[in-house]
Structure formats: structure tokens, C-alpha cells
């Protein structure tokens, strides 16, 4: 039930509360906003990477959120993009059944109709499905997939597994987001696929969030900026998908055209080492996995919630293309730079927050939250980025990481019970 909340944990007047759950390598934020008509609650993402678990399992996370909601419903559920580490929790359909939400916001690329305008999106969806076929729910690659990565070493294989698990289509979660949630009055929740049509950057108000103006700074409509333009060829996936039945290599030309091995001359125009070097140029599974990772990050919603004096900047995992679009558009840049709170993108990686934005555009003292967890392997190396943390320090930005308790003197942050979450209060 929605309604004014004077209960414990509710938002005080003139103060927005942002609660970051300690999910590990993932994002889950519960935002409480005071409005004229009472408190409004927004859930932004709910998930984590299976290899980067924090304090909760998926079920425990949803149960914790429900405990904090204390029987009340949500007003908006936002899924910034379809990476597992942002949506895995939404798959627990039975647990969500009794949580109502008025609206569900998703990037337009996740809309079932999006492929009509942009046929390439169907191809990307296909790759997500393929990723689900070759990487199981526990994160293990099929033997065929490992064979397809035969020329790469264990470190690279681990990185590919990490990316593919994250990119695999999570049917239950996406189904729930697209069709599962219900409003307080029993009707299906209204879905918004953002940005809606209009000049960039679009903005809108919804009756569900009175006094709140929502600006949508991403994803950009231009596929090139979302890294959507070039769909990787499916070689990498094909051989992995075909499984044991596939021959290890499939030349497009039959035996008739080939020189039999026994007739090959001793001296050939290319020595074997050269041929090995040429093989490195194959667009293999690793190439496709990285492309898919970039595509999904690129579809991230970038929202600025304008509430009174407050501006909450929520960029999901938006990468370079989206940021270039923002930085090159004065209106969008002004909106982003006016932030009075920032959720740092992509767990604090080098790929999601421009240096120039922190150095020159964000105001000093802007509080920031980073939902992150350090871990091994090539992909997680440099997450969160030390240079970014230093830069924020130089700007006197109070920031907190989900994997470390806030410093005692940072009064804007307050840890939750046993450090399972951290709260931030933003005046509005």
C-alpha cells in the first residue's frame, strides 16, 4: 500500500534517503522521496554477479527489501540495463508477487518492439540467448565453449566466463520486469521504455511521483553510441553452441578444394608461426563476449531525478558512448553536472565515469555511492579504480563504497544493521 509513511525508516520531510545494499559486485538501491502526497519509493536495480556475491543471496536480497518496505509497495522499479548484476534479483518471481509497483522503467532496447526500429537489436538478443546456452546459471562454460576458446589461456577464459554469465538472458527476471509486476489496484504495472520519443535529452513527469521531474540522459538513440552498430559475427558462439556434434573447425570449402596434407610442400609461403599469428585475428568467442558486454552497458539508463533542490544522478553502467553524448550536449551536461548525489557507474570502473566530469563539472562536495566489490581476474582488475577514488577525494566529494563502512566523520552516510546496507541523506 502506498501512503504517507511516518514509520521508522521513512523519509523525513525535505530529505531524500538513498539506501545502497551491500550486494557485492552488483547494484541495488532503494530511494525514498518525500512528496506533497506522501513518501514515494523507487527501487533502482536489484542484482549481483554470481562470482561477486555480497551479503545476500538473490532471495535474501528480495526478502530484505521487503522487510524494509514493511508491507508497502514501490512506486517505480527501474532496471537500468539487462546485465545480470543489475537484475538477477528480479527473477525471484514468487517473492515479488506481493510487492506492488506502479511503474517499471527499462531502456528502450529492452522493449519487445524495439527490433522493429532497429533490426540489429534482435541480433543482440540472439547473442544474449546464445550466452545463456553456453554459460550455465552457475557461471561454468560448456565444454564446447571452452574448446572454442582453446587458443586462449585460463585467465582469458575466466574473463569470458565472467562476461558471458553477466550477459546471459535471464528469462525469469526479464519476464517479471516486462510482464510480472502489478500495481496496488491490481492492474499490471505501467511500463516505460526510456527514453521516450523527443529531442535529446527528454524529460517527463509521472503522476506516480509528484514533485519529481525525470530527465533521461541515456541511452542515446544512435546505435553507434551504444556500441550497437556492429553485431559481432556469430562464429564464436556457433562453434560453442553446436556442442559435441560440431567438428572442431569448419572450413567453408569442401575437401575437394583443399590440398591434401601429404602433398604439402616442405617450404611454404608462410611458416607455421606466422599462421598462428594470423589466427589471433579471429573474431572468436572472446571478441563476441566483449562486444556483448559493451552493448549491454551501453544500453544503460542514465537518469537525473529532479526533486526540489535535489538532483540524483543515476547512470547505471553507462559507458563511453553514452558519456560522449552527454558531454557534447550542453543541456544534458548541465543536468548531469547539477547533481547533488551521484551513483558511480559500473562499480567504479575506468569505463563509466569521465575524468573530466569529476574534475570540472561535478560540484565539489557532491556525495557519491559506489556499489562495488574487489575481485580477481582480468575483468575485475581495477574495479573500483583508484584514480577515480583519488579524484573524488581531491574534489572533497564524500563517497562510500558498499564493501567498506563509511568513515566516522562522514555524517551524510549511515551504515545499516551489520553493515548490510548504507544510507545516504540528500536534502531537497
Amino acid at each position: 500500500m502506498t501512503g504517507t509513511s511516518k514509520r521508522r525508516g521513512g523519509a523525513m520531510k525535505n530529505e531524500i534517503s538513498v539506501r545502497m545494499y551491500k550486494v557485492g559486485f552488483g547494484d541495488c538501491f532503494l530511494i525514498r522521496i518525500p512528496t506533497e502526497d506522501g513518501e514515494r519509493r523507487i527501487l533502482v536495480d536489484c542484482g549481483f554477479h554470481s562470482q561477486g556475491k555480497g551479503d545476500f543471496s538473490d532471495r535474501e536480497l528480495v526478502e530484505q527489501i521487503k522487510e524494509h518496505l514493511n508491507g508497502e509497495g514501490l512506486h517505480v522499479v527501474v532496471a537500468t540495463h539487462r546485465h545480470q548484476d543489475h537484475i538477477s534479483g528480479f527473477g525471484e518471481k514468487d517473492l515479488w508477487a506481493d510487492v506492488t509497483t506502479e511503474e517499471v522503467w527499462l531502456p528502450f532496447t529492452a522493449s519487445p518492439d524495439s527490433a522493429q526500429d532497429e533490426p540489429a537489436l534482435r541480433a543482440w538478443q540472439g547473442l544474449m540467448d546464445a550466452a545463456a546456452s553456453i554459460c550455465d546459471a552457475k557461471g561454468a562454460l560448456t565444454p564446447a565453449a571452452l574448446a572454442a576458446l582453446g587458443s586462449r589461456d585460463a585467465v582469458d577464459q575466466a574473463a569470458v566466463a565472467f562476461m558471458l554469465w553477466n550477459a546471459r538472458a535471464n528469462e525469469p527476471a526479464i519476464e517479471n520486469l516486462l510482464r510480472g509486476f502489478k500495481r496496488a489496484d491490481g492492474r499490471p504495472s505501467e511500463r516505460r521504455f526510456l527514453p521516450e520519443k523527443g529531442d535529446y535529452p527528454t524529460s517527463f513527469k509521472t503522476p506516480v511521483l509528484p514533485d519529481v521531474k525525470v530527465h533521461v540522459l541515456g541511452p542515446p538513440m544512435d546505435p553507434a553510441m551504444r556500441k550497437s552498430k556492429k553485431v559481432p559475427s556469430t562464429w564464436g558462439f556457433d562453434s560453442a553452441l553446436a556442442g559435441a556434434a560440431a567438428t572442431p573447425f569448419d572450413s567453408p570449402f569442401s575437401e575437394d578444394w583443399r590440398v591434401p596434407a601429404e602433398s604439402l610442400p616442405q617450404r611454404r609461403p608462410f611458416v607455421d608461426k606466422s599462421l598462428e599469428a594470423i589466427r589471433l585475428f579471429n573474431d572468436d568467442l572472446m571478441y563476441a563476449a566483449r562486444a556483448l558486454d559493451g552493448f549491454l552497458n551501453g544500453e544503460s539508463l542514465v537518469l537525473v531525478l529532479e526533486i526540489g533542490h535535489a538532483r540524483l544522478l543515476l547512470p547505471g553502467d553507462a559507458e563511453v558512448g553514452t558519456w560522449m553524448t552527454i558531454l557534447s550536449n550542453p543541456t544534458a551536461l548541465d543536468l548531469a553536472a547539477s547533481a547533488t548525489f551521484v551513483k558511480i557507474g559500473h562499480h567504479g570502473s575506468h569505463n563509466a565515469t569521465p575524468l573530466v566530469f569529476v574534475k570540472e563539472h561535478l560540484a565539489e562536495n557532491t556525495p557519491a555511492m559506489i556499489s562495488t566489490q574487489e575481485g580477481p581476474g582480468k575483468y575485475r582488475n581495477g574495479i573500483p579504480l583508484q584514480d577515480l577514488l583519488s579524484e573524488m577525494g581531491l574534489r572533497h566529494m564524500p563517497f562510500v563504497r558498499s564493501d567498506q563502512p563509511p568513515a566516522a566523520k562522514q555524517s551524510v552516510f549511515a551504515p545499516g544493521k551489520d553493515g548490510h546496507w548504507i544510507d545516504c541523506k540528500i536534502p531537497c
Binding site: 533490426p119 570449402f253 590440398v259 589471433l280 579504480l385
Partner: protein
């Protein structure tokens, strides 16, 4: 005219190719027949008891090996000298016939080489007179690139996107070697590497842009010389050539196969100016657009009288099909202008500085080369080029104005150069001797190649990039020429340089204290429009300038191109702006290689901000 019964050697060979990517146009309409000089194409057989794995001509070798699987697959080479094949104008174009693919890469590569031969008035050999290898099915990828260390052009193949294949069949295999544009583009890179090896150091954003833009120009304009194709397109487009996407879309099938639904690049671009873009591919596209615009302006003015005649002065062509005679005449004009544009662009090479090229330098070289050889400029191309470049913001800053005579390169008036006329005259004679020797010399054979794989640990390299960067060590690319006269001339040039006192060097516009790199030179022998031949010599004098950029001391090539007359008089001295004047550009480029796109310092040991990486350049385009 043959004189004896045994005299059956043909002058030309005709081979069929796809002129436009196979899936883009309807069946039959995308073929063309290419005419190239006849040369024997024997199968390479070092060992009589074994099979051949390649066939070769004088300058090219087609090696059909597929390195993409765990075991390399060698495909049987085509025997294009086989009577059955030769009498049908080569193998029939078929996507499923790998030997046709071999024929196609050979034909288009040779045609492209011949464009350079004709324009430059000499046979362009690759380094060391060794053959350039063409590998039509080298790896599985949506890319094709020139690999300087392997002395090869590697063509990838890939599957069209199943869900968004564009014009292709879903899941169809697409071969980059079947794209005329891609073959011509890559061969151009290989030739430019030979003509200007120091362009492999990207010392300003125009260098990479020039590589890509120039290669696209060759591809597009060469296609515009295929008479049958142009004729069909002009008929379809109702003589409004701008309406023909097929003529101007570069590598259409390739782009569509990637799922973007569009051709890879469109030459008929918007009105973007050089000042509006910074990204190197976008810059290259501006250059292509400028030259294209010049071509269109010239073609339209040349065909204006035909249109006037055909329409009785109204200028409005009738609905429906055009009269075939009109189309034929328009085609002839189009092909003539396109050929002239291409020749003009290639000839500009002799007038480019040896390093640090800019669009402005190219413009001046274009204008000068054309003026030297075509003083009358009947096609009005020179003026069109200057105007089109002006509209795109391509200027020669030091020229001061856009008048033709301002754009012409400065004639070397300096007394300093006159002093050496006798020496230079001796050089010219040696160069002519070298020419003769080169024509008579055979191609050196070698059993393998000189490639040494990078020694980076596998995972470092593999995660940071898909594969090692593909760069040319410009000093060592291919091997040294070893013809006697080449050695003598090379030594003569270096000796002359060493006799110069430091302040003399400075007066001549060179660095006082750096050694001369091994000089590149060639004779040039051209026939002007009034029929007289001029002999001369073009020498590239290059020194390495040491500068600290981005905290690291690096060597940047700098130098002069001398265009020397047969009398020893230096007609032109062509250099580039001193690095001191655009130091900031260098700093910016160094910075961009050590930071990622969002500005954070990255630690990539392989990053060389100034290298021209042929593979990466093309990866970034799609």
C-alpha cells in the same frame, strides 16, 4: 600485330570479377570484366613431387591458406593460364568457388597496381622487389588488412548476422575478398607503404586520415572506371549520377552483413568540414567527399553539353529510359573524368613530403602535379578540386590564398640548391640506370618469411587487444634493394649529405646534427599532354628528430622530398612544418594513447600513440 607463328603471347588478360559486393545488386549486374596486362601466372612449385600452394606473377602471389582453425587449411591454387579457363575470361564469378576468389583478388590487386604504374610512369615494385602475398581466406573475422611484417594482405570472412543481415541471407558467409573496394583499399595501403614509408608514423591526425581517405579514393574511383557498371547505373539513375548509391557506397555488402543495415561508408557524405571532426576516420571521409565533389562538378560540367543536345536546351530529360547513345556518351565522360581524377591523385605522391603529411600538403601536391603535367586542365579538374577542398575546409595554410599559383609548391629558388646541381645530375643518371636494372632483375625468392611473433605474454596481449598491433617498422619494412646501381646511388646520396657542414644543412632546411636515413628514390619519367617526355628524379631525404613527448624521448621522421630535373636543377623542395610549430598536437596524441576514452590513465605496454596500426584502423571503421 604478330610477325611469326610462334608469337601468341597476349598483351592483355581479361578476368571477371564482382564489381559491386555480390549480394547488394541483383544477379548478373554486379559483374565486370577487368583488363590487366598479361603476365604468366605459374603455380609455385619448389618441389616437383609435391603440390603447389600458390600461384604468382611478377609482383603478387596468391596464397590461399586458411589459418583460422587449429590446423591450417591450404586450398588448391587456380591455374589461370589453363587454356580452358583463360578462354572464358577467367573463372565464372561464384561465391562458393574459392579459386574464383583467388582470381578476384589477383585481378583487382593487379588493376590497382597498374593504376599506380600508369599514373607514376614507372613500375612500382614492393620492397626488395619481393612479392606481396594475398590471402583470400586468412582468418575468421569481419576485417581485412595489410600486414607489413608478413608482406601480405589478409582477408577475413564471417557470417552475416542471422537476425539483421541487411541484404544478405541470414547466416550467409561473407568473404571480404569478394569486395572490390576492400581489395583495392588494402593494396593501396601496401603501395603507399612503399612510396612513403615514413607515413607509418602518425605525427598529426591527418596522417591516419590520409591513409584511409586515400585508399577509399582509389577504391571508389577505380570502380567508376568500370564502363559496364557505370553505364547500367547511369541508365538506372536517369543520368543523375548522384542518385546512384551503388557507385558511391563503399563495401556495401560488408557493412550490411554486420547488421548495421548500411554500407560501410558512404562516399557521398554530408557537408562536413575538416574543422568539424576530430576522429580520424571522419577526417578521412571528408577528404574522400572533397575529391568526389570535384569529380561530380567536373563530370556535370562535361556532360552539360550532352544534356543540352539531348533536351533541346530545356535541360529536362524525358521520363523513363534514356536514349542508349546518350547513356553511352555520358558513360564515356564519367569514366574519363574518373580516370583523370584517380591519376591526378596518384601523381600527387611524387610531390608529398616524406613524413607528417597533411591534407593541405596533399592539396598542394595535387595541384602541382596536375599543373606540371596538364597545364591546360581541359576537364577543369584543378579548379574543381580547389573549390571542393575549400568548401570542406581543406587549406594549405602556408599558401596564403586559394589561387592556383599560390597553391603551387614553391619552386626551389634558393641559391643553396644550385650549388649541387652537378651532383644531382649524376644522381639522375644513376637513377635511370637503376630503372633499367630493376626491370631486368628477377624477383628474389625466399622460402618463408621474416616474421617474428611478438614476445608479449599471451594473456596481456589477448585481453587488452584481440591480436597484436599491425605496424610497419618503417625502416626495416621488407628488405633492402640490392641492385648495384641502387646501392651506388644510395651511397652517393648519403656521402653527399655527409659532406655538408651543419650550417649548410640548416640552410637547406634539414637538421644539422642528425644522420640521414637510408634514402628512398626513384626516377620519374612522364609524358606530358603535348607529348614530350621529361626525365627526373625524386629523392626523399629523411632524418629522425628526437623530441620528448609525453615524458618519453621519441624519434620523429622529418625531411624533404626533392624533385630534381635531368639537368640537376632542383625544381621543388617539399617539406613539412617543423614539429616545434605543432608540438601541442604531438603531446595531445601521446596523451590520448595513454588514457582511455574517458580520460583515465591506462597501462597498455603496446600502446604507441604514433603508430599506424593497419588492423586497428579498420576495426574501428565498421
Amino acid at each position: 600485330m604478330r610477325r611469326s607463328p610462334g608469337d601468341t603471347r597476349p598483351e592483355y588478360r581479361q578476368l571477371r570479377i564482382y564489381a559491386i559486393d555480390p549480394m547488394v545488386a541483383r544477379a548478373g549486374e554486379h559483374q565486370a570484366t577487368v583488363q590487366i596486362r598479361f603476365e604468366e601466372l605459374p603455380l609455385r612449385k619448389d618441389d616437383a613431387s609435391k603440390a603447389a600452394v600458390s600461384f604468382h606473377g611478377r609482383r603478387l602471389e596468391v596464397v590461399d591458406v586458411d589459418a583460422s582453425g587449429a590446423t591450417p587449411v591450404w586450398l588448391k591454387p587456380a591455374n589461370l593460364d589453363d587454356a580452358n579457363i583463360a578462354m572464358q575470361l577467367g573463372l565464372e564469378p561464384a561465391e562458393s568457388d574459392p579459386q574464383f576468389h583467388q582470381q578476384m583478388v589477383y585481378a583487382v590487386a593487379t588493376r590497382t597496381l597498374e593504376q599506380f604504374d600508369r599514373a607514376l610512369g614507372r613500375v612500382t615494385y614492393f620492397g626488395g622487389r619481393r612479392r606481396l602475398r594475398l590471402v583470400p581466406h586468412a582468418f575468421r573475422g569481419s576485417n581485412a588488412f595489410y600486414h607489413p611484417k608478413l608482406r601480405a594482405i589478409l582477408f577475413g570472412y564471417f557470417r552475416a548476422s542471422r537476425d539483421a543481415p541487411g541484404e544478405n541471407l541470414p547466416g550467409q558467409v561473407i568473404f571480404t575478398c569478394l569486395s572490390h573496394d576492400i581489395i583495392a583499399h588494402e593494396v593501396t595501403h601496401a603501395i603507399v607503404d612503399r612510396l612513403r614509408p615514413y607515413f607509418n608514423v602518425a605525427t598529426n591526425p591527418h596522417v591516419r586520415a590520409f591513409h584511409e581517405g586515400f585508399a577509399d579514393i582509389v577504391a571508389v574511383f577505380q570502380r567508376l572506371t568500370f564502363r559496364d557498371l557505370v553505364q547500367r547505373e547511369l541508365q538506372n539513375a536517369g543520368a543523375d549520377i548522384r542518385k546512384s548509391r551503388l557507385l558511391f557506397d563503399i563495401a556495401a555488402q560488408f557493412g550490411q552483413g554486420l547488421g548495421s543495415g548500411k554500407a560501410l561508408r558512404t562516399a557521398l557524405d554530408s557537408k562536413t568540414k575538416v574543422q568539424d571532426v576530430r576522429e580520424e576516420h571522419a577526417l578521412g571521409a571528408v577528404l574522400v567527399a572533397a575529391i568526389l565533389e570535384a569529380f561530380l562538378a567536373s563530370f556535370e560540367s562535361r556532360s552539360a553539353d550532352l544534356i543540352r543536345i539531348a533536351t533541346g536546351g530545356t535541360g529536362v530529360l524525358p521520363q523513363g529510359a534514356l536514349h542508349p547513345d546518350l547513356v553511352r556518351r555520358l558513360t564515356a565522360e564519367c569514366v574519363r573524368v574518373a580516370q583523370s581524377v584517380l591519376t591526378m591523385c596518384i601523381r600527387a605522391f611524387d610531390y608529398l613530403p616524406p613524413a607528417d603529411v597533411t591534407f593541405g600538403a596533399f592539396l598542394r601536391a595535387l595541384v602541382t602535379a596536375d599543373w606540371e603535367l596538364n597545364p591546360l586542365d581541359e576537364l577543369g579538374l584543378r579548379a574543381s578540386v580547389i573549390e571542393a577542398c575549400r568548401r570542406r575546409g581543406i587549406f594549405a595554410a602556408e599558401a596564403g590564398s586559394l589561387a592556383v599559383n599560390a597553391l603551387l609548391l614553391d619552386v626551389a629558388r634558393d641559391e643553396e640548391w644550385r650549388k649541387h646541381e652537378a651532383t644531382f645530375s649524376a644522381w639522375v643518371k644513376l637513377a635511370i640506370q637503376f630503372d633499367i636494372e630493376e626491370q631486368l632483375a628477377s624477383t628474389p625468392e625466399d622460402g618463408g618469411d621474416f616474421f617474428v611473433p611478438d614476445v608479449q605474454p599471451q594473456s596481456e596481449r589477448a585481453f587488452a587487444r584481440q591480436a597484436p598491433p599491425v605496424r610497419s617498422d618503417f625502416s626495416e619494412t621488407w628488405t633492402q634493394d640490392d641492385l648495384p646501381s641502387a646501392t651506388v646511388l644510395g651511397n652517393a646520396i648519403v656521402d653527399w649529405f655527409n659532406t655538408l657542414a651543419p650550417d649548410e644543412r640548416k640552410r637547406l632546411g634539414m637538421l644539422p646534427d642528425q644522420d640521414l636515413r637510408r634514402p628512398h628514390f626513384h626516377s620519374n619519367r612522364r609524358v606530358t599532354s603535348d607529348g614530350t617526355a621529361r626525365f627526373g628524379l625524386v629523392v626523399q631525404l629523411v632524418q629522425m628528430q628526437l623530441l620528448t613527448v609525453g615524458g618519453i624521448q621519441r624519434a620523429f621522421p622529418t625531411g624533404l622530398t626533392l624533385v630534381i630535373d635531368v639537368t640537376g636543377k632542383v625544381r621543388f623542395v617539399i617539406g613539412s612544418a617543423p614539429y616545434a610549430s605543432h608540438r601541442q598536437d604531438l603531446e595531445k596524441m601521446a596523451l590520448s594513447a595513454t588514457t582511455n576514452a574517458l580520460g583515465w590513465p591506462i597501462n597498455d605496454p603496446l600502446a604507441d600513440p604514433f603508430a599506424v596500426d593497419y588492423h586497428a584502423m579498420h576495426e574501428a571503421r565498421a
